[in-house]
Symmetry: C2
Subunit: 167 residues, 2 copies
């Protein structure tokens, strides 16, 4: 397996979205067992001025969508942020998994050498794709993914690092 | 900037360790302001059965050390896990930054095509380097890095995602 833009994105996003789905499934089962209403964990936070689990899942999936769309010049689909329950969040993750699966090695071929276009404060900017992906897009995806895990862990859902790394 | 094992490791680890140092510096200043003893935040957790901030910083730096050593065939240095205060943790991060800075593009050249040797349950295993780095090593580094941030955020240290992404 050689190093390519495909190798550092599609298989990684597929694995970690599947792991996120499995973590949300454990949260669903645990909430049912503890008789916690289905909308409570999605609205949970680590600090009152932090965004809740729902946002962390929306942001993880949106950032994965945007980076793949940018690298290939596709127009990203719009996903309404209407999730309320853990089941809704799992459906959002599955939608993202389907989108990731629509990208082949050929779709991403050469994208390491093409700049991507970002909107920075309303202005379009062209930036080299490799530092954009490695220093910004991927770290932000892991940030929100880990924050989703951390919110559930803090709220007593029995998940461990094995669930995060999975695979 | 082309895609290489160097591009997805050394500049990324350098940036995110510097950001971690800056986050720990904010925690130090905030703890002093709130008259929190210097050993309290390092011992903080998000759940009683989770490892504390000290471990998250040790694990982040150790995993960065191990992946670079494995990719280049170097013997990793041993770092004693004796940190107690935030100042100790910042020193640990600076030690890791110095170690990362000792790897050049030439040191990592070709490492994408060479397997790495891992110890799995006491047995040495040879695995392809690209999936090891992209699917395992890097996600685990971001996991512990984000968990360090999350513990401080939960404990009222005024940090935001801008501090995490930095640069």
């Amino acid at each position: 397996m050689s190093l390519s833009m495909y190798a550092i994105t599609v298989p990684v996003f597929t694995r970690y979205l599947n792991n996120l789905d499995a973590i949300l499934a454990k949260a669903e089962a645990n909430a049912a067992e503890r008789k916690i209403k289905p909308e409570v964990l999605p609205a949970s936070r680590l600090a009152p001025d932090m965004l809740p689990l729902t946002f962390q899942v929306q942001s993880t999936t949106d950032r994965i969508k945007f980076v793949l769309a940018r690298l290939t010049g596709r127009t990203p689909p719009s996903w309404a942020d209407t999730e309320v329950t853990l089941a809704d969040l799992r459906a959002r993750v599955r939608t993202a998994l389907d989108y990731v699966a629509s990208f082949s090695q050929a779709d991403l071929a050469g994208s390491e050498d093409r700049p991507v276009t970002l909107k920075v404060r309303g202005e379009e900017q062209s930036v080299p794709s490799v530092p954009h992906v490695t220093l910004n897009a991927i770290p932000q995806i892991y940030f929100h993914l880990t924050m989703a895990y951390a919110i559930l862990r803090h709220n007593g859902v029995p998940v461990g690092k094995g669930d995060f790394v999975g695979g």
